[in-house]
Protein backbone atom coordinates (compact mmCIF):
# COMPACT_ATOMS: atom_id res chain seq x y z
CA UNK A 1 0.00 0.00 0.00
CA UNK A 2 1.43 3.28 -1.03
CA UNK A 3 -0.22 5.02 1.84
CA UNK A 4 1.47 2.85 4.43
CA UNK A 5 4.83 3.03 2.69
CA UNK A 6 4.75 6.76 2.89
CA UNK A 7 3.47 6.95 6.41
CA UNK A 8 5.62 4.34 8.08
CA UNK A 9 9.11 5.85 7.65
CA UNK A 10 8.06 9.11 9.22
CA UNK A 11 6.29 7.18 11.94
CA UNK A 12 9.44 5.17 12.72
CA UNK A 13 11.69 8.21 12.67
CA UNK A 14 9.33 9.93 14.98
CA UNK A 15 9.25 6.95 17.32
CA UNK A 16 12.91 7.05 18.38
CA UNK A 17 13.57 10.79 18.58
CA UNK A 18 10.38 11.74 20.40
CA UNK A 19 10.91 9.16 23.11
CA UNK A 20 13.58 11.45 24.51
CA UNK A 21 11.66 14.52 23.49
CA UNK A 22 8.51 13.18 25.04
CA UNK A 23 10.32 12.36 28.22
CA UNK A 24 11.84 15.82 28.28
CA UNK A 25 8.45 17.41 27.76
CA UNK A 26 6.96 15.23 30.46
CA UNK A 27 9.74 16.12 32.88
CA UNK A 28 9.53 19.78 32.02
CA UNK A 29 5.79 19.75 32.51
CA UNK A 30 6.17 18.12 35.90
CA UNK A 31 8.86 20.55 37.00
CA UNK A 32 7.03 23.57 35.65
CA UNK A 33 3.83 22.37 37.22
CA UNK A 34 5.47 21.93 40.59
CA UNK A 35 7.14 25.30 40.44
CA UNK A 36 3.92 26.88 39.23
CA UNK A 37 1.97 25.40 42.11
CA UNK A 38 4.55 26.64 44.58
CA UNK A 39 4.44 30.15 43.14
CA UNK A 40 0.65 30.05 43.00
CA UNK A 41 0.55 29.06 46.64
CA UNK A 42 2.88 31.92 47.51
CA UNK A 43 0.78 34.33 45.48
CA UNK A 44 -2.49 33.29 47.05
CA UNK A 45 -0.98 33.38 50.52
CA UNK A 46 0.35 36.86 49.77
CA UNK A 47 -3.09 38.04 48.65
CA UNK A 48 -4.78 36.49 51.61
CA UNK A 49 -2.23 37.85 54.08
CA UNK A 50 -2.20 41.37 52.67
CA UNK A 51 -5.14 42.49 54.82
CA UNK A 52 -3.84 44.99 57.32
CA UNK A 53 -5.12 44.95 60.91
CA UNK A 54 -6.86 48.19 61.82
CA UNK A 55 -4.31 49.11 64.47
CA UNK A 56 -1.29 48.73 62.14
CA UNK A 57 -0.45 52.14 60.70
CA UNK A 58 1.94 52.59 57.78
CA UNK A 59 4.73 55.20 57.96
CA UNK A 60 4.07 58.72 56.65
CA UNK A 61 4.05 59.03 52.89
CA UNK A 62 3.25 55.36 52.36
CA UNK A 63 1.71 54.67 48.98
CA UNK A 64 -1.82 53.27 48.92
CA UNK A 65 -1.63 49.76 50.37
CA UNK A 66 -1.74 47.91 47.03
CA UNK A 67 1.09 49.98 45.55
CA UNK A 68 2.96 49.88 48.83
CA UNK A 69 3.08 46.10 48.76
CA UNK A 70 4.50 46.26 45.24
CA UNK A 71 7.14 48.85 46.07
CA UNK A 72 8.38 47.99 49.58
CA UNK A 73 11.36 45.61 49.51
CA UNK A 74 11.26 45.20 53.30
CA UNK A 75 14.80 46.49 53.86
CA UNK A 76 14.00 48.30 57.10
CA UNK A 77 15.91 51.49 56.28
CA UNK A 78 12.90 53.56 57.39
CA UNK A 79 12.91 51.66 60.67
CA UNK A 80 16.59 52.40 61.16
CA UNK A 81 16.19 56.10 60.56
CA UNK A 82 13.17 56.54 62.81
CA UNK A 83 14.61 58.36 65.84
CA UNK A 84 11.81 57.31 68.20
CA UNK A 85 11.73 53.57 67.45
CA UNK A 86 8.17 54.07 66.32
CA UNK A 87 8.47 51.95 63.20
CA UNK A 88 9.09 48.25 63.22
CA UNK A 89 9.24 45.54 60.56
CA UNK A 90 6.48 42.99 60.72
CA UNK A 91 7.65 39.59 61.81
CA UNK A 92 6.09 36.40 60.57
CA UNK A 93 2.97 35.96 62.67
CA UNK A 94 2.37 39.67 63.23
CA UNK A 95 -0.66 39.74 60.91
CA UNK A 96 1.03 42.43 58.83
CA UNK A 97 2.70 41.52 55.53
CA UNK A 98 6.01 39.99 56.65
CA UNK A 99 8.88 42.44 56.72
CA UNK A 100 6.88 45.58 55.95
CA UNK A 101 7.15 48.60 58.25
CA UNK A 102 4.29 49.73 60.47
CA UNK A 103 3.59 51.15 63.88
CA UNK A 104 0.93 50.84 66.51
CA UNK A 105 -0.14 54.17 67.91
CA UNK A 106 -1.01 52.86 71.36
CA UNK A 107 2.56 51.51 71.57
CA UNK A 108 4.77 54.24 70.15
CA UNK A 109 3.07 56.92 68.06
CA UNK A 110 4.67 58.95 65.27
CA UNK A 111 6.42 62.05 66.56
CA UNK A 112 5.98 63.84 63.23
CA UNK A 113 9.64 64.80 62.63
CA UNK A 114 9.83 67.87 60.43
CA UNK A 115 12.51 66.33 58.19
CA UNK A 116 10.58 63.03 57.90
CA UNK A 117 13.71 60.81 58.00
CA UNK A 118 11.80 57.60 57.30
CA UNK A 119 10.56 58.93 53.97
CA UNK A 120 14.01 60.21 53.05
CA UNK A 121 15.53 56.80 53.84
CA UNK A 122 13.22 54.78 51.60
CA UNK A 123 15.15 53.79 48.47
CA UNK A 124 12.28 52.24 46.56
CA UNK A 125 9.56 54.87 46.62
CA UNK A 126 7.24 52.86 48.84
CA UNK A 127 7.30 56.00 51.00
CA UNK A 128 6.58 58.84 48.64
CA UNK A 129 9.12 61.66 48.76
CA UNK A 130 6.62 64.19 47.44
CA UNK A 131 5.55 64.38 51.09
CA UNK A 132 7.80 67.13 52.43
CA UNK A 133 5.45 68.68 54.99
CA UNK A 134 4.69 66.23 57.78
CA UNK A 135 1.53 68.23 58.48
CA UNK A 136 0.17 66.92 55.20
CA UNK A 137 0.79 63.27 56.12
CA UNK A 138 -2.23 61.00 56.11
CA UNK A 139 -1.06 57.91 58.00
CA UNK A 140 -4.55 57.32 59.25
CA UNK A 141 -7.38 59.21 60.86
CA UNK A 142 -8.15 59.52 64.57
CA UNK A 143 -11.66 58.51 65.53
CA UNK A 144 -13.20 58.97 68.96
CA UNK A 145 -14.52 55.49 68.79
CA UNK A 146 -15.77 54.85 72.32
CA UNK A 147 -18.15 57.60 73.38
CA UNK A 148 -19.36 55.59 76.33
CA UNK A 149 -16.04 55.54 78.17
CA UNK A 150 -14.45 58.79 76.94
CA UNK A 151 -14.21 60.97 80.06
CA UNK A 152 -15.13 64.13 78.18
CA UNK A 153 -18.27 62.45 76.92
CA UNK A 154 -19.07 61.66 80.55
CA UNK A 155 -18.96 65.38 81.23
CA UNK A 156 -15.46 65.45 82.77
CA UNK A 157 -12.61 67.67 81.65
CA UNK A 158 -9.94 65.20 80.54
CA UNK A 159 -8.98 66.84 77.25
CA UNK A 160 -5.73 64.89 77.10
CA UNK A 161 -6.10 63.83 73.48
CA UNK A 162 -6.79 67.41 72.56
CA UNK A 163 -3.82 68.72 74.55
CA UNK A 164 -1.27 66.33 73.06
CA UNK A 165 -2.42 66.76 69.47
CA UNK A 166 0.47 68.28 67.47
CA UNK A 167 -2.14 70.04 65.35
CA UNK A 168 -4.17 71.22 68.38
CA UNK A 169 -7.31 73.24 67.63
CA UNK A 170 -7.23 72.14 64.03
CA UNK A 171 -7.06 68.35 63.98
CA UNK A 172 -8.85 68.05 67.31
CA UNK A 173 -11.16 70.72 68.66
CA UNK A 174 -13.29 70.73 71.77
CA UNK A 175 -16.90 71.30 70.79
CA UNK A 176 -19.07 72.70 73.56
CA UNK A 177 -22.37 70.96 74.09
CA UNK A 178 -25.09 71.17 76.68
CA UNK A 179 -24.86 68.39 79.22
CA UNK A 180 -28.40 67.06 79.39
CA UNK A 181 -27.63 64.88 82.40
CA UNK A 182 -26.76 67.65 84.84
CA UNK A 183 -28.65 70.21 82.74
CA UNK A 184 -26.36 72.94 83.99
CA UNK A 185 -22.93 72.00 82.73
CA UNK A 186 -21.20 71.87 79.39
CA UNK A 187 -19.57 68.88 77.76
CA UNK A 188 -16.46 69.60 75.73
CA UNK A 189 -16.36 66.90 73.14
CA UNK A 190 -13.05 66.14 71.39
CA UNK A 191 -13.81 66.30 67.70
CA UNK A 192 -11.43 65.19 64.96
CA UNK A 193 -11.22 67.06 61.67
CA UNK A 194 -9.97 64.89 58.84
CA UNK A 195 -8.61 67.86 56.91
CA UNK A 196 -5.86 68.37 59.48
CA UNK A 197 -5.43 65.01 61.21
CA UNK A 198 -2.17 63.32 60.15
CA UNK A 199 -2.85 60.03 61.90
CA UNK A 200 0.23 60.36 64.10
CA UNK A 201 -1.56 58.60 66.94
CA UNK A 202 -0.40 60.79 69.83
CA UNK A 203 -4.00 61.10 70.97
CA UNK A 204 -4.43 57.34 71.03
CA UNK A 205 -1.19 56.93 72.93
CA UNK A 206 -2.13 59.60 75.49
CA UNK A 207 -5.72 58.53 76.17
CA UNK A 208 -5.91 58.02 79.93
CA UNK A 209 -8.21 55.02 79.84
CA UNK A 210 -6.53 51.83 81.03
CA UNK A 211 -5.96 49.31 78.27
CA UNK A 212 -7.70 50.29 75.05
CA UNK A 213 -7.93 53.93 74.08
CA UNK A 214 -11.25 55.69 73.50
CA UNK A 215 -9.74 57.54 70.55
CA UNK A 216 -8.02 55.42 67.93
CA UNK A 217 -6.15 56.01 64.73
CA UNK A 218 -7.59 53.88 61.98
CA UNK A 219 -6.63 53.49 58.35
CA UNK A 220 -8.47 56.21 56.46
CA UNK A 221 -10.36 53.60 54.48
CA UNK A 222 -11.87 52.32 57.70
CA UNK A 223 -12.32 55.66 59.40
CA UNK A 224 -13.98 57.63 56.66
CA UNK A 225 -17.03 57.13 54.49
CA UNK A 226 -17.07 58.06 50.85
CA UNK A 227 -18.26 61.53 50.01
CA UNK A 228 -21.83 61.77 48.74
CA UNK A 229 -20.88 63.37 45.44
CA UNK A 230 -24.47 63.46 44.19
CA UNK A 231 -25.56 65.60 47.11
CA UNK A 232 -25.04 69.29 46.47
CA UNK A 233 -24.42 71.13 49.67
CA UNK A 234 -26.50 74.26 49.46
CA UNK A 235 -24.20 76.30 51.64
CA UNK A 236 -21.18 75.45 49.57
CA UNK A 237 -23.00 76.16 46.31
CA UNK A 238 -24.15 79.45 47.76
CA UNK A 239 -20.63 80.43 48.70
CA UNK A 240 -19.27 79.42 45.31
CA UNK A 241 -21.96 81.35 43.45
CA UNK A 242 -21.78 84.31 45.78
CA UNK A 243 -25.53 84.11 46.35
CA UNK A 244 -28.21 81.61 46.92
CA UNK A 245 -29.14 79.69 43.79
CA UNK A 246 -32.81 79.66 44.74
CA UNK A 247 -33.17 83.27 45.88
CA UNK A 248 -33.29 84.56 49.43
CA UNK A 249 -35.35 82.76 51.98
CA UNK A 250 -38.76 84.22 52.55
CA UNK A 251 -38.97 85.42 56.11
CA UNK A 252 -42.38 84.79 57.51
CA UNK A 253 -43.37 86.60 60.67
CA UNK A 254 -43.98 84.49 63.72
CA UNK A 255 -47.25 85.26 65.29
CA UNK A 256 -46.84 87.03 68.59
CA UNK A 257 -43.13 87.74 68.03
CA UNK A 258 -43.49 90.33 65.30
CA UNK A 259 -41.39 92.91 67.16
CA UNK A 260 -38.39 90.58 67.64
CA UNK A 261 -35.48 89.91 65.30
CA UNK A 262 -36.12 87.12 62.83
CA UNK A 263 -35.33 83.78 64.43
CA UNK A 264 -35.24 85.09 67.98
CA UNK A 265 -37.79 82.97 69.80
CA UNK A 266 -36.76 83.72 73.35
CA UNK A 267 -39.74 84.88 75.39
CA UNK A 268 -40.34 86.05 78.92
CA UNK A 269 -43.33 84.74 80.83
CA UNK A 270 -46.46 86.44 79.55
CA UNK A 271 -44.80 87.45 76.31
CA UNK A 272 -45.30 85.89 72.92
CA UNK A 273 -48.13 83.84 71.56
CA UNK A 274 -50.55 82.90 74.32
CA UNK A 275 -52.88 80.01 74.51
CA UNK A 276 -56.31 81.48 74.07
CA UNK A 277 -58.10 81.39 77.38
CA UNK A 278 -61.31 80.01 75.94
CA UNK A 279 -61.96 78.54 72.58
CA UNK A 280 -65.53 77.42 72.98
CA UNK A 281 -66.19 75.30 69.98
CA UNK A 282 -62.62 74.15 69.30
CA UNK A 283 -62.17 70.67 67.93
CA UNK A 284 -59.36 69.25 65.85
CA UNK A 285 -60.05 68.63 62.22
CA UNK A 286 -61.49 65.23 61.53
CA UNK A 287 -61.03 63.23 58.41
CA UNK A 288 -64.11 63.94 56.43
CA UNK A 289 -66.24 61.54 54.54
CA UNK A 290 -64.94 58.11 53.65
CA UNK A 291 -61.27 58.86 54.33
CA UNK A 292 -59.25 56.25 56.20
CA UNK A 293 -58.88 56.97 59.88
CA UNK A 294 -55.29 56.18 60.75
CA UNK A 295 -56.05 56.43 64.42
CA UNK A 296 -53.37 59.08 64.86
CA UNK A 297 -53.89 61.34 67.84
CA UNK A 298 -51.95 64.52 68.47
Amino acid sequence: MTMNDKVQPTGRAAASAPSTRRRFLKDAAGVAGGAGLLALGAGMYAKQASALPATAIRPPGALPEDDFLAACVRCGLCVRDCPYNTLKLAELGDNVATGTPYFEARGIPCEMCEDIPCVVACPTGALDRSLTDIGKAKMGLAVLIDQENCLNFLGLRCDVCYRVCPVIDKAITLERMHNPRSDRHAMLLPTVHSEYCTGCGKCEKACVLPGESAIKVLPIKLAQGSKAEHYLRGWEEKEAAGQSLIGDQVELPVRGLEDKAYGDTRVKPGEGPQVPAQVPDYAPAQPSGGGLDSGWKP
Binding site: V31, G43, A90, P123
Partner: protein
Amino acid sequence: MSAQTTAGGVPERKVPPNSIRGAAMRGVVARPGREAVEVKGWLRAHKWLLLRRVSQLGILALFLVGPWLGWWIVKGNLASSLTLGVLPLTDPFLIAQQLAAGQWPYQEALLGGGIVLAFYLLFGGRLFCSWVCPVNIVTDAAAWLRRRLGLKGGKAPSANTRYWLLGFVLVIAAVTGSLAWEWVNPVSMFHRGLIFGFGLAWGIVGGIFFYDLLIAPRGWCGHLCPQGAFYALLGRKSLVKVSADRRSACNDCMDCFAVCPEPQVIRPALKGVGQDHPLILDADCTTCGRCVDVCGKDVFRITTRFNRSES
Protein backbone atom coordinates in the same frame (compact mmCIF):
# COMPACT_ATOMS: atom_id res chain seq x y z
CA MET B 1 51.25 10.58 50.93
CA SER B 2 52.44 11.92 47.65
CA ALA B 3 51.14 10.42 44.46
CA GLN B 4 52.94 7.15 44.17
CA THR B 5 54.13 6.36 40.72
CA THR B 6 54.70 2.90 39.41
CA ALA B 7 57.67 2.05 37.27
CA GLY B 8 55.67 2.54 34.10
CA GLY B 9 55.00 6.20 34.96
CA VAL B 10 51.25 5.70 35.38
CA PRO B 11 50.11 7.19 38.69
CA GLU B 12 48.80 4.50 41.00
CA ARG B 13 45.20 5.38 41.74
CA LYS B 14 45.07 4.31 45.34
CA VAL B 15 41.67 5.15 46.79
CA PRO B 16 41.88 6.69 50.27
CA PRO B 17 40.08 4.51 52.81
CA ASN B 18 37.76 7.22 54.21
CA SER B 19 36.79 8.77 50.88
CA ILE B 20 33.38 8.19 49.40
CA ARG B 21 34.60 5.31 47.25
CA GLY B 22 36.98 3.89 49.82
CA ALA B 23 34.31 3.87 52.48
CA ALA B 24 31.78 2.37 50.09
CA MET B 25 34.20 -0.48 49.38
CA ARG B 26 34.70 -1.03 53.09
CA GLY B 27 31.05 -0.55 53.94
CA VAL B 28 31.49 2.30 56.45
CA VAL B 29 30.32 5.91 56.64
CA ALA B 30 32.59 8.06 54.52
CA ARG B 31 34.49 11.04 55.82
CA PRO B 32 35.14 13.05 52.68
CA GLY B 33 38.15 15.31 53.03
CA ARG B 34 39.91 13.09 55.56
CA GLU B 35 42.76 12.45 53.16
CA ALA B 36 43.09 16.16 52.41
CA VAL B 37 43.41 16.88 56.14
CA GLU B 38 46.15 14.30 56.44
CA VAL B 39 48.01 15.58 53.41
CA LYS B 40 47.52 19.33 53.74
CA GLY B 41 46.72 19.85 57.39
CA TRP B 42 43.33 20.84 58.82
CA LEU B 43 43.66 24.54 58.14
CA ARG B 44 44.53 24.23 54.48
CA ALA B 45 41.91 21.54 54.02
CA HIS B 46 39.30 24.01 55.27
CA LYS B 47 40.73 27.19 53.79
CA TRP B 48 37.88 28.15 51.48
CA LEU B 49 35.24 26.95 53.89
CA LEU B 50 36.68 29.16 56.62
CA LEU B 51 37.01 32.10 54.28
CA ARG B 52 33.39 31.68 53.26
CA ARG B 53 32.20 31.52 56.84
CA VAL B 54 34.21 34.64 57.63
CA SER B 55 32.61 36.36 54.64
CA GLN B 56 29.07 35.24 55.50
CA LEU B 57 29.31 35.99 59.20
CA GLY B 58 31.30 39.16 58.60
CA ILE B 59 28.62 40.56 56.31
CA LEU B 60 26.00 39.61 58.86
CA ALA B 61 28.06 41.24 61.60
CA LEU B 62 28.25 44.48 59.62
CA PHE B 63 24.47 44.59 59.69
CA LEU B 64 24.27 43.60 63.35
CA VAL B 65 26.78 45.93 65.01
CA GLY B 66 24.36 48.78 64.26
CA PRO B 67 21.38 47.53 66.24
CA TRP B 68 23.54 45.74 68.83
CA LEU B 69 26.31 48.23 69.54
CA GLY B 70 25.13 51.39 67.84
CA TRP B 71 27.94 51.39 65.27
CA TRP B 72 26.05 52.16 62.13
CA ILE B 73 28.27 50.82 59.37
CA VAL B 74 25.52 49.22 57.33
CA LYS B 75 21.82 49.94 57.70
CA GLY B 76 18.99 47.87 56.33
CA ASN B 77 19.33 44.29 55.18
CA LEU B 78 20.32 42.37 52.08
CA ALA B 79 17.16 43.50 50.31
CA SER B 80 18.44 47.05 50.35
CA SER B 81 21.07 48.70 52.48
CA LEU B 82 23.01 51.88 52.97
CA THR B 83 26.69 51.60 53.88
CA LEU B 84 28.34 54.43 55.82
CA GLY B 85 25.52 56.68 54.76
CA VAL B 86 26.66 56.84 51.13
CA LEU B 87 26.77 53.49 49.37
CA PRO B 88 23.35 52.13 48.43
CA LEU B 89 23.14 48.43 47.65
CA THR B 90 19.93 46.75 46.55
CA ASP B 91 19.17 43.17 45.65
CA PRO B 92 18.47 43.12 41.88
CA PHE B 93 16.21 40.10 42.45
CA LEU B 94 13.91 42.38 44.45
CA ILE B 95 14.09 45.14 41.87
CA ALA B 96 13.13 42.61 39.21
CA GLN B 97 10.11 41.63 41.30
CA GLN B 98 9.24 45.24 41.96
CA LEU B 99 9.37 46.08 38.26
CA ALA B 100 7.25 43.01 37.51
CA ALA B 101 4.74 44.23 40.08
CA GLY B 102 4.55 47.54 38.26
CA GLN B 103 6.46 49.90 40.54
CA TRP B 104 9.41 51.99 39.43
CA PRO B 105 11.93 52.38 42.27
CA TYR B 106 13.78 55.54 43.23
CA GLN B 107 17.24 56.24 41.92
CA GLU B 108 19.00 54.94 45.04
CA ALA B 109 17.49 51.52 44.61
CA LEU B 110 18.28 51.49 40.89
CA LEU B 111 21.85 52.60 41.52
CA GLY B 112 22.27 50.12 44.35
CA GLY B 113 20.76 47.37 42.24
CA GLY B 114 23.08 48.29 39.37
CA ILE B 115 26.17 48.06 41.57
CA VAL B 116 25.19 44.65 42.91
CA LEU B 117 24.21 43.46 39.44
CA ALA B 118 27.51 44.58 37.96
CA PHE B 119 29.48 42.90 40.74
CA TYR B 120 27.86 39.52 40.29
CA LEU B 121 27.84 39.74 36.50
CA LEU B 122 31.55 40.37 36.61
CA PHE B 123 32.76 38.05 39.33
CA GLY B 124 30.24 35.23 39.54
CA GLY B 125 26.51 35.12 40.13
CA ARG B 126 26.32 32.40 42.72
CA LEU B 127 29.11 33.91 44.76
CA PHE B 128 26.07 35.38 46.47
CA CYS B 129 24.86 31.92 47.43
CA SER B 130 28.09 30.62 48.91
CA TRP B 131 29.74 33.77 50.19
CA VAL B 132 26.87 36.03 51.31
CA CYS B 133 23.56 34.23 51.73
CA PRO B 134 22.92 33.19 55.36
CA VAL B 135 20.72 30.27 54.31
CA ASN B 136 23.86 28.65 52.92
CA ILE B 137 25.05 28.03 56.47
CA VAL B 138 21.78 26.27 57.25
CA THR B 139 21.80 24.06 54.16
CA ASP B 140 25.53 23.35 54.53
CA ALA B 141 24.81 22.22 58.07
CA ALA B 142 22.04 19.96 56.82
CA ALA B 143 24.31 18.52 54.13
CA TRP B 144 27.10 17.97 56.67
CA LEU B 145 24.77 16.21 59.08
CA ARG B 146 23.40 14.13 56.24
CA ARG B 147 26.91 12.94 55.42
CA ARG B 148 27.82 12.28 59.01
CA LEU B 149 24.67 10.31 59.66
CA GLY B 150 25.19 8.45 56.42
CA LEU B 151 21.68 9.34 55.21
CA LYS B 152 21.35 8.26 51.63
CA GLY B 153 18.74 8.79 48.98
CA GLY B 154 15.82 11.12 49.38
CA LYS B 155 13.71 12.76 46.76
CA ALA B 156 14.77 16.11 45.38
CA PRO B 157 12.78 17.85 42.65
CA SER B 158 14.49 18.50 39.35
CA ALA B 159 17.30 21.03 39.55
CA ASN B 160 15.48 23.01 36.88
CA THR B 161 12.56 23.65 39.21
CA ARG B 162 14.29 26.78 40.49
CA TYR B 163 14.40 28.37 37.04
CA TRP B 164 10.74 27.69 36.50
CA LEU B 165 10.03 28.99 39.97
CA LEU B 166 12.01 32.14 39.19
CA GLY B 167 9.84 32.70 36.14
CA PHE B 168 6.66 32.11 38.08
CA VAL B 169 7.80 34.38 40.91
CA LEU B 170 7.94 37.24 38.42
CA VAL B 171 4.63 36.22 36.86
CA ILE B 172 2.96 36.08 40.26
CA ALA B 173 4.39 39.50 41.12
CA ALA B 174 2.87 40.88 37.94
CA VAL B 175 -0.48 39.16 38.47
CA THR B 176 -0.91 40.10 42.13
CA GLY B 177 0.78 43.48 41.76
CA SER B 178 2.82 42.80 44.88
CA LEU B 179 6.10 41.22 45.90
CA ALA B 180 4.28 37.97 46.50
CA TRP B 181 7.42 35.85 46.84
CA GLU B 182 8.66 38.04 49.68
CA TRP B 183 5.86 36.77 51.88
CA VAL B 184 7.50 33.36 51.90
CA ASN B 185 11.07 33.89 50.64
CA PRO B 186 13.20 32.10 53.25
CA VAL B 187 16.37 33.83 52.06
CA SER B 188 15.28 37.38 52.75
CA MET B 189 13.21 36.26 55.72
CA PHE B 190 16.17 34.62 57.44
CA HIS B 191 18.50 37.56 56.98
CA ARG B 192 15.84 40.06 57.99
CA GLY B 193 14.91 37.91 60.94
CA LEU B 194 18.48 37.86 62.23
CA ILE B 195 18.62 41.64 62.12
CA PHE B 196 15.09 42.82 62.81
CA GLY B 197 13.54 39.93 64.72
CA PHE B 198 12.13 36.61 63.62
CA GLY B 199 8.61 36.05 64.82
CA LEU B 200 7.66 32.67 63.42
CA ALA B 201 10.25 32.80 60.63
CA TRP B 202 12.37 30.30 62.56
CA GLY B 203 9.84 27.76 61.41
CA ILE B 204 10.62 28.38 57.76
CA VAL B 205 14.38 28.20 58.35
CA GLY B 206 13.93 25.02 60.35
CA GLY B 207 11.74 23.70 57.57
CA ILE B 208 14.53 24.19 55.06
CA PHE B 209 17.03 22.49 57.34
CA PHE B 210 14.87 19.42 57.82
CA TYR B 211 13.81 19.37 54.18
CA ASP B 212 17.47 19.26 53.14
CA LEU B 213 18.36 16.79 55.87
CA LEU B 214 15.53 14.32 55.65
CA ILE B 215 13.77 14.72 52.32
CA ALA B 216 15.87 16.22 49.57
CA PRO B 217 19.67 16.31 49.60
CA ARG B 218 20.69 19.89 48.73
CA GLY B 219 17.00 20.37 48.05
CA TRP B 220 16.60 24.05 48.75
CA CYS B 221 19.76 25.69 47.39
CA GLY B 222 20.35 23.17 44.64
CA HIS B 223 16.86 22.66 43.31
CA LEU B 224 14.26 25.13 44.50
CA CYS B 225 15.61 28.54 45.45
CA PRO B 226 14.58 31.05 42.75
CA GLN B 227 16.91 33.66 44.18
CA GLY B 228 19.85 31.33 43.60
CA ALA B 229 18.54 30.71 40.09
CA PHE B 230 18.45 34.45 39.49
CA TYR B 231 22.07 34.81 40.55
CA ALA B 232 23.05 31.75 38.53
CA LEU B 233 21.69 33.49 35.44
CA LEU B 234 23.82 36.52 36.26
CA GLY B 235 26.94 34.36 36.51
CA ARG B 236 26.86 32.77 33.08
CA LYS B 237 29.74 34.86 31.75
CA SER B 238 31.44 35.83 34.97
CA LEU B 239 35.12 35.87 35.70
CA VAL B 240 35.87 33.72 38.74
CA LYS B 241 35.69 30.01 38.07
CA VAL B 242 36.94 26.77 39.54
CA SER B 243 39.34 24.78 37.39
CA ALA B 244 40.27 21.10 37.71
CA ASP B 245 43.64 21.95 36.29
CA ARG B 246 45.45 18.99 37.89
CA ARG B 247 42.79 16.52 36.93
CA SER B 248 45.44 14.07 35.80
CA ALA B 249 46.23 13.54 39.48
CA CYS B 250 42.65 12.59 40.35
CA ASN B 251 42.40 9.25 42.13
CA ASP B 252 38.62 8.96 41.79
CA CYS B 253 37.97 9.14 45.50
CA MET B 254 34.69 11.02 44.77
CA ASP B 255 35.06 13.32 47.77
CA CYS B 256 34.56 16.46 45.67
CA PHE B 257 31.25 15.06 44.41
CA ALA B 258 30.18 14.37 47.97
CA VAL B 259 30.78 17.87 49.29
CA CYS B 260 29.82 19.81 46.16
CA PRO B 261 26.44 21.54 46.49
CA GLU B 262 25.96 21.18 42.72
CA PRO B 263 27.76 17.91 41.95
CA GLN B 264 26.60 17.81 38.34
CA VAL B 265 28.93 20.70 37.45
CA ILE B 266 32.14 18.79 38.25
CA ARG B 267 32.06 15.96 35.73
CA PRO B 268 32.49 17.96 32.50
CA ALA B 269 35.61 19.63 33.85
CA LEU B 270 37.13 16.75 35.82
CA LYS B 271 36.40 13.96 33.37
CA GLY B 272 36.38 15.99 30.18
CA VAL B 273 32.77 15.12 29.36
CA GLY B 274 31.58 17.34 26.53
CA GLN B 275 34.48 19.76 26.89
CA ASP B 276 38.27 19.51 26.74
CA HIS B 277 39.33 22.31 29.09
CA PRO B 278 39.32 21.79 32.87
CA LEU B 279 37.19 24.87 33.75
CA ILE B 280 33.87 24.51 35.54
CA LEU B 281 31.83 26.93 33.49
CA ASP B 282 28.38 25.77 34.59
CA ALA B 283 26.53 28.74 36.06
CA ASP B 284 25.15 26.52 38.83
CA CYS B 285 28.63 26.29 40.37
CA THR B 286 28.62 28.51 43.44
CA THR B 287 32.42 28.89 43.51
CA CYS B 288 32.38 27.80 47.12
CA GLY B 289 35.81 26.20 46.78
CA ARG B 290 34.90 23.22 48.91
CA CYS B 291 36.18 20.87 46.19
CA VAL B 292 39.53 22.65 46.41
CA ASP B 293 39.57 22.02 50.15
CA VAL B 294 38.64 18.34 50.24
CA CYS B 295 40.89 17.19 47.43
CA GLY B 296 44.00 15.48 48.74
CA LYS B 297 45.55 15.66 45.30
CA ASP B 298 45.03 19.42 44.86
CA VAL B 299 43.20 18.86 41.62
CA PHE B 300 41.10 22.01 41.84
CA ARG B 301 41.88 25.65 42.20
CA ILE B 302 39.97 28.91 41.91
CA THR B 303 41.03 30.90 38.89
CA THR B 304 39.52 32.96 36.05
CA ARG B 305 37.48 31.78 33.15
CA PHE B 306 40.33 32.64 30.78
CA ASN B 307 42.79 30.28 32.41
CA ARG B 308 42.33 27.01 30.54
CA SER B 309 45.78 25.74 31.30
CA GLU B 310 46.32 22.31 32.75
CA SER B 311 49.24 21.14 34.79
